[in-house]
Amino acid sequence: MKALPIFFKLLGWDILREIRRRETIPNMLLFALLVLFVASVGVDRDSGVKISSSVGPVFFWVAILFAGTVGLSQSFAAEREGGVLGGIVTSPIDLGTFYLAKVAATTLYVVVLEIALLFVYGFFFSFVPASQLGGLIGAMSLFTVGYMGAGVVLAAMTTTLRGGGEVVLRILLVPLMIPFLWVILRQSGLFFQTEIAGGALGGPLRQSHFFTFCVALDAIYLTVGYLLFPKVLE
C-alpha cells in the first residue's frame, strides 16, 4: 500500500474535520490568550523593568506549551468519538503513516496558533521581534514538530483516561520537552533581543548550531513516536 497518498488523505480529512468542528484551534487560542493576559496584568509595569525583555518570552513559550496539550487532547478526543480511531486501527493502513499524518495536522494547528499568538504578544507586551521574525517562526515550527511528535503518542494513551487525560498528558509530556525548552529559551534571548532568566540558562547558540540541534531532536522524537505509536494503539 502506498504510504504517501494515504498520508495526504488522512491529513486532508483531519483538516476538513477541524474546519467543520472549529474546536482545536479556537480552544488552544483561548487558553493561550488567557495565559498571556494573566501574565501581562500580573507583572508590575511601574517597576521600571521592561517586561518584554525579561519574563515576556517565558510566558510566550509557556502559553504555547500548555495550549499545545489542549490541542492534542481535543484532536484525539475527536478521533475517539464514535470509535473513529478503532475504524482506522482495523483498516489495513500502516499505523505509522497515521501517526505522521496526525503529527502533521496537529503541528499545522499549533503553528497557526503560534503565529496568531505573536500578534497577541505584541499587543500585551508592546513588543514584536520584527527583525528576528523569520528565525523565530522557524524555531517555533521546529519546536512544534518535536512537541507534536512526542505529544501525539502520549495523547493516544491518555485520552482514554477519565476526563480526557489532559492533566496526565501534561505531566508526561512537559518533562520530555525539557531539552527542547532549554535551547528554545536560550535562543529566545536572541529572538526577543533580551537576556532570559538573567542569563542563568546560558546565552544563545550560534543559529546553525541551534537549528541543527532542533532538527536532531525532531528526528529523535519522530523516530521513537513512529515506532511506538502502533504499539500504543494496539
Binding site: K9, E81, T90, P92
Partner: protein, 254 residues
C-alpha cells in the same frame, strides 16, 4: 483445539483447508481478570457462525481480537489463514467489521465517511462511487447520503456502519450485536443481507454475536456459546444453547 468429533464435523460442513478463524488457547486479561481463559475454537469457512452467551462472557473481546483491534497475552489466532499478530494488515484488508462503535465521523456527511473508509482500504476511486451507491441503496440510506452523521438516529448510524463494513467486499464479516438499535424492518433487512452475503458469495463467512436467539437460530449454520471466557457449547449445524441461555424466541440473559 476442538474435540475430535467437532473437527470431523468441520470437515463435513466445510471443504476448505483453512477455517475462517482459528483460536488456539487464547488468553486475554484486563487487570487481574481473565476475560478469555485459554479459549480454543475453529470457525468454518462459509455460512453464518453465531456466538452467544451472557453479558461479560467474553464474546465482544473475542470478536475484537478476531478483528485485530485488540492484542492478547497468550495463544494463537489465525483469520482466513493468516496469523493476526504477524500479518495484521493482510487480515484487516479482508475483514468487514461492525462493533458497538460506528467508526463514523459525525461532522462528515455519510458519503464523505464512506469515501474516507474506502480510501483507508485503498479502493480505487473509479470503484468507490459505484460501491457506495449500491450499499446506500441496500441499506436504504440513499436519501440521507449528504447529511452529516451527527444528525442521524441510532438506527441510521447502525445502517451506515453496516454499509461501511461492506465497502471492501470482505471475506469475513464480523458483526457484534448488529440488530440492536434497528427497527423491525431494519432487522429483517439485515437478516436478509447476512443470508445473501454467505449464500451468494462462495466461501464468505459471517461471525455474528447476538442475544436475539430467534434471529440467530434462523441464520446460524454453526454456533458456539461462550461462558466465562470459554466455549461451553459448540454446534456445527445450527444454534447451540445450554439450558440456561433462554428458550428459542427469547433473548438470552442480559
Amino acid at each position: 483445539m476442538l474435540p475430535r468429533e467437532a473437527r470431523e464435523s468441520v470437515g463435513e460442513v466445510n471443504c476448505l483447508a483453512s477455517p475462517a478463524a482459528r483460536l488456539d488457547k487464547v488468553r486475554k486479561r484486563f487487570g487481574y481478570r481473565d476475560v478469555l481463559r485459554g479459549i480454543s475454537l475453529e470457525i468454518p469457512r462459509g455460512g453464518c457462525f453465531v456466538l452467544t452467551g451472557p453479558n461479560g462472557a467474553g464474546k465482544s473481546t473475542l470478536v475484537r481480537i478476531l478483528s485485530t483491534q485488540w492484542s492478547f497475552a497468550e495463544g494463537t489466532v489465525e483469520v482466513l489463514g493468516s496469523n493476526v499478530k504477524r500479518e495484521p494488515a493482510r487480515v484487516r484488508s479482508r475483514l468487514g467489521i461492525v462493533l458497538h462503535e460506528s467508526f463514523l465521523r459525525r461532522e462528515l456527511t455519510l458519503e464523505e465517511n464512506l469515501h474516507f473508509a474506502a480510501a483507508l482500504f485503498s479502493i480505487p476511486r473509479s470503484d468507490q462511487d459505484e460501491r457506495i451507491a449500491r450499499l446506500l441503496d441496500t441499506f436504504g440510506l440513499t436519501r440521507r447520503r449528504r447529511d452529516t452523521v451527527g444528525t442521524f438516529s441510532q438506527g441510521m448510524i447502525k445502517r451506515a456502519s453496516l454499509a461501511r463494513s461492506l465497502l471492501n467486499e470482505p471475506e469475513l464479516w464480523i458483526l457484534d450485536e448488529p440488530f440492536s438499535g434497528l427497527d423491525p424492518a431494519g432487522q429483517e433487512l439485515l437478516a436478509k443481507v447476512i443470508g445473501d452475503f454467505h449464500q451468494e458469495g462462495g466461501n464468505r463467512t459471517v461471525v455474528l454475536v447476538t442475544h436475539q436467539l430467534e434471529i440467530g437460530r434462523s441464520l446460524a449454520t454453526g454456533s458456539a456459546q461462550i461462558t466465562d471466557g470459554r466455549v461451553s457449547h459448540l454446534s456445527l449445524a445450527g444454534l447451540a444453547l445450554s439450558s440456561h441461555s433462554g428458550a428459542p424466541g427469547e433473548e438470552a440473559e442480559g
